[in-house]
Symmetry: D2
Subunit: 118 residues, 4 copies
């Protein structure tokens, strides 16, 4: 697995990518979040008209699979960049969240039941 | 650095978290993408009314910093889950994207210039 | 039909709602757009785990129908407010867009075919 | 003001636009919501890198003003379409929401204070 599988490594690479381009001036939290929303929109456009029951199968076939990977990567790269400028250790935050979710959703309580929002 | 810093590890943990709760039935691509959008919305609500020029500083202070970490984690967890059900190796996709971005945005061409969309 | 069915009327009411609360100071385009994203997120949370094939029917039943109306209204109110601060006549813009879409998507070309993004 | 300023008129035009193209088959709530997210993303891409303090002024200048109107229109058209397939009377829902907001945010309580989410 490449170093890019590590959030810390991706964070470092994005920080350097930004630094050498002098793009840090554009990377305030609200701007990065809007850029993240833009990528979420591109990801949505890839799936919006695909019938829900066919989406899983089609998503694993080309050319869609590769396009999904590209847009998911853009989402992750802006998310990692946003976390960095906000001083958030994303790896640690995810670690805490995974632990919290285990306690918040006991298997015995939510087995087979979607936690619907109201 | 915890194992949760690895996308592969986070992917495995989310897959197991879903399996033991029998939530896989709800995790089709379009549903997971809408769940991801829901978390992006919660992240936006944390920053929306903060003056842009104060956002970076406030984002690094509590209680905002911790809340941002929680919502960013939710975004990442659904993104990782979405990639998994779509058969996308997110670590590899990010690796390819970082390489592509280096070629797409030569430092000499874009130094200090934001790539505005039209 | 109430005056609120008119975009111009909704725009005026939101402008006055904002003015009397002295909230204009918070209503810059990027902040309003993030607030709009926040409401899109709340709308998504209402539909995310509902099976696609049941969504149309469930959306027309209570309590979901009323909740959807509330969140769709929040989306529209922030959109109208965003258009106002950007100096966009939303009614006129929609008029032009509807005309453009008729020409962009000739019935003979797209009948029964979803315009998939690539 | 054109008929398109009326939500009911826009709803009718979008319903007919969809019917003659036999696109109703694609317009389930979750798909329309993802299409709406796609347009929100395009709107975000127009503003993401613009300095917040310059956004209001630049948004009122061409070519940005026209582009914003186009994307805001796409957002509104999909929102109106989504409301229609969900059996939501958007004009009535907005009417109720505006009344509820007046009561929820008394001027004396929130004057000059942004209602921050936590």
């Amino acid at each position: 697995m490449s170093n890019n599988d590590s959030l810390a490594s991706i964070t470092d690479q994005m920080r350097e990518f930004t630094r050498v381009r002098d793009w840090h001036q554009f990377h305030d939290p609200k701007s990065l979040l809007l850029a993240l929303v833009g990528e979420i929109g591109e990801l949505s456009e890839l799936l919006q008209w695909i019938p829900a029951q066919e989406a899983s199968e089609l998503a694993q076939q080309e050319p869609l699979n590769h396009r999904l990977g590209e847009e998911m990567s853009d989402v992750l790269l802006y998310l990692v960049r946003l976390a960095d400028v906000c001083g958030v250790d994303l790896g640690q935050a995810v670690n805490e969240k995974l632990t919290a979710n285990e306690q918040r959703f006991p298997v015995s309580d939510v087995h087979g039941v979607a936690p619907l929002k109201e």
